[in-house]
């Protein structure tokens, strides 16, 4: 299984320090994750399951694993609902293989959240005002 086995193939993403931008190139929806959410994203797309990601987050941020497990689980559910990740986790993935950036100092913990900058539903289907020309291509409807 590849290192990004859970990533929707239409999604491209990049991490810059503690910020991740993920874009669904098919729909134009884009998402930003920072801090805990960025770390969580990196762990999950690398294939870690909810428990594995939660344990890694708990250790990195020095928080109770039960709290981390609840927050990470909700975050992963949001990622799945947004269509960013799919499929099963990779049993062979480890936090060490992800290589999270080394922090400059103590890390502050906040529950990870998904920041979305587009409404997927609005982008998925053709605007119904269009008509079709002789060759079958959509054209703007006459006023």
């Amino acid at each position: 299984m590849s290192a990004e086995s859970r990533l929707n193939p239409w999604v491209t993403h990049e991490r810059l320090d503690d910020e991740v931008i993920a874009i669904n190139l098919e729909t134009g929806a884009y998402f930003a994750f920072s801090g805990v959410a960025a770390d969580c994203w990196s762990l999950v797309v690398a294939g870690l399951d909810r428990a594995g990601a939660a344990a890694a987050i708990a250790e990195r941020y020095g928080v109770d694993v039960e709290r981390s497990r609840s927050d990470v689980s909700q975050f992963v559910t949001q990622l799945e609902a947004a269509g960013l990740i799919m499929g099963e986790a990779d049993a062979g993935a480890t936090p060490e293989s992800v290589g999270l950036p080394t922090p400059n100092g103590p890390l502050a913990y906040t529950a990870p959240v998904v920041d979305s900058f587009e409404d997927l539903e609005d982008l998925l289907l053709l605007d119904p005002i269009h008509e079709v020309d002789e060759a079958g291509w959509p054209v703007a409807a006459a006023e």
């Binding site: 193939p9 239409w10 491209t12 993403h13 990049e14 991490r15 810059l16 320090d17 503690d18 910020e19 931008i21 874009i23 190139l25 098919e26 729909t27 134009g28 884009y30 930003a32 920072s34 900058f117 609005d122 982008l123 998925l124 289907l125 053709l126 605007d127 269009h130 079709v132 020309d133 002789e134 060759a135 079958g136 291509w137 959509p138 054209v139 703007a140």
Partner: protein, 344 residues
């Protein structure tokens, strides 16, 4: 992910567009053909309609160079003028997305986009590095397209190269350039025009390419800039570069002041200040990352797989700053000069 049934017909669509262009070329007196350079690459432009060439070629004219082996060919015709239709669409209406993309085409050999208002069909064959554009009627093309034609194709093509398209303006002095990005109305154009009026080289108004090789570079694509009427009040010396002073939308042709590329020294986000003085405030790469992504990647109609990575690589290496613009335009130019010198 299951492939849509039309995917098997995408190469047929490209073949159909190629054949239609040949018919359109036969229906016109002459095909207007020129080559330009973008970065280290040659791009051949073919127009099977004089009126289309008259509108869309001037944006590229500053970068005309002869080449026998183009890396990209764009063949364009006008359906109204030639009577030649594009081949039938091999997909259903529900496959078209509002941004012009066709659902499911992104990673494939043939990419398709369609503008329902302009009635413009664009088909790009990545393997042949050849794009075909059928325009319903050149009179349906909005004026802004004249300054920046074929952006979708250039983004698709760049996605398979080391070039990364950026929604940003750029100017340079002595071979050192700055990328100026930000929302509309933030002072991007004013910043760059003030520099051009001061004798700097023009690189780009809103769209350019960057590379992140041994030395990050910014490359021009189009040689024209939009000019708001009030810009001439503040920068009267630019009047001599206006293409047509009576035009509905003023366009600046910097002529000899055009740069063919520059080393990239900084990425700047301007904002309108409240004093006469211009200040340069260093900001994080992440802040610029968020600012550049919507225009540089999301406008790409399915392109952007490489752009995001190039953008991050660029921002790791080039300083970023917010430019708090003062009303004294000489001060704006002086501030950029300090940024380029690396002393800010």
């Amino acid at each position: 992910m299951g492939a849509p049934p039309w995917k098997n017909h995408a190469v047929d669509l490209a073949d159909g567009m190629s054949a239609a262009f040949e018919r359109a070329a036969g229906a016109t007196d002459a095909v207007f053909e020129r080559e330009v350079h973008i970065g280290d690459h040659a791009v051949r432009l073919q127009f099977a309609a004089p009126a289309l060439a008259a509108r869309l070629w001037p944006a590229f004219a500053a970068f005309a160079r002869s080449s026998t082996t183009p890396d990209l060919t764009i063949s364009c015709w006008d359906r109204s003028a030639t009577g030649v239709e594009p081949p039938p669409a091999p997909f259903s209406l529900t496959e078209f997305l509002p941004n012009g993309a066709v659902r499911g085409h992104i990673d494939d050999r043939v990419r398709v986009a369609q503008d329902a208002v302009m009635r413009m069909v664009t088909v790009y064959d990545r393997e042949r590095r050849h794009a075909w554009v059928c325009v319903g009627d050149h009179s349906l093309i909005p004026l802004w397209v004249d300054r920046a034609p074929f952006r979708t194709i250039l983004r698709w093509w760049a996605d398979d190269s080391e070039l990364a398209p950026m929604h940003a303006s750029a100017v340079a002095v002595d071979g050192d350039g700055v990328l100026v990005t930000g929302a509309s109305g933030s002072g991007k154009s004013t910043t760059c025009l003030a520099c051009v009026a001061a004798g700097w080289s023009f690189i780009a108004d809103d769209f350019c390419m960057v590379t992140t090789g041994s030395d990050p570079m910014v490359h021009p694509v189009y040689g024209l800039a939009k000019l708001e009427p009030d810009a001439l009040v503040r920068l009267p010396s630019l009047a001599e570069h206006v293409v047509d002073p009576s035009a509905e939308q003023l366009v600046l042709d910097p002529g000899a002041n055009i740069s063919r590329g520059a080393r990239l020294r900084a990425v700047l986000i301007p904002q309108l200040g409240s004093t006469t003085k211009t200040s340069v405030i260093p900001i994080s790469a992440q802040e610029v990352f968020r600012e550049l992504v919507p225009g540089s990647v999301l406008e790409g109609i399915g392109a952007g797989t490489q752009t995001l990575g190039t953008l991050a690589a660029l921002l790791r290496r080039v300083p970023c700053a917010r430019l708090d613009l003062g009303s004294d335009l000489d001060g704006v130019v002086a501030a950029l000069r300090v940024v380029i010198s690396g002393q800010s």
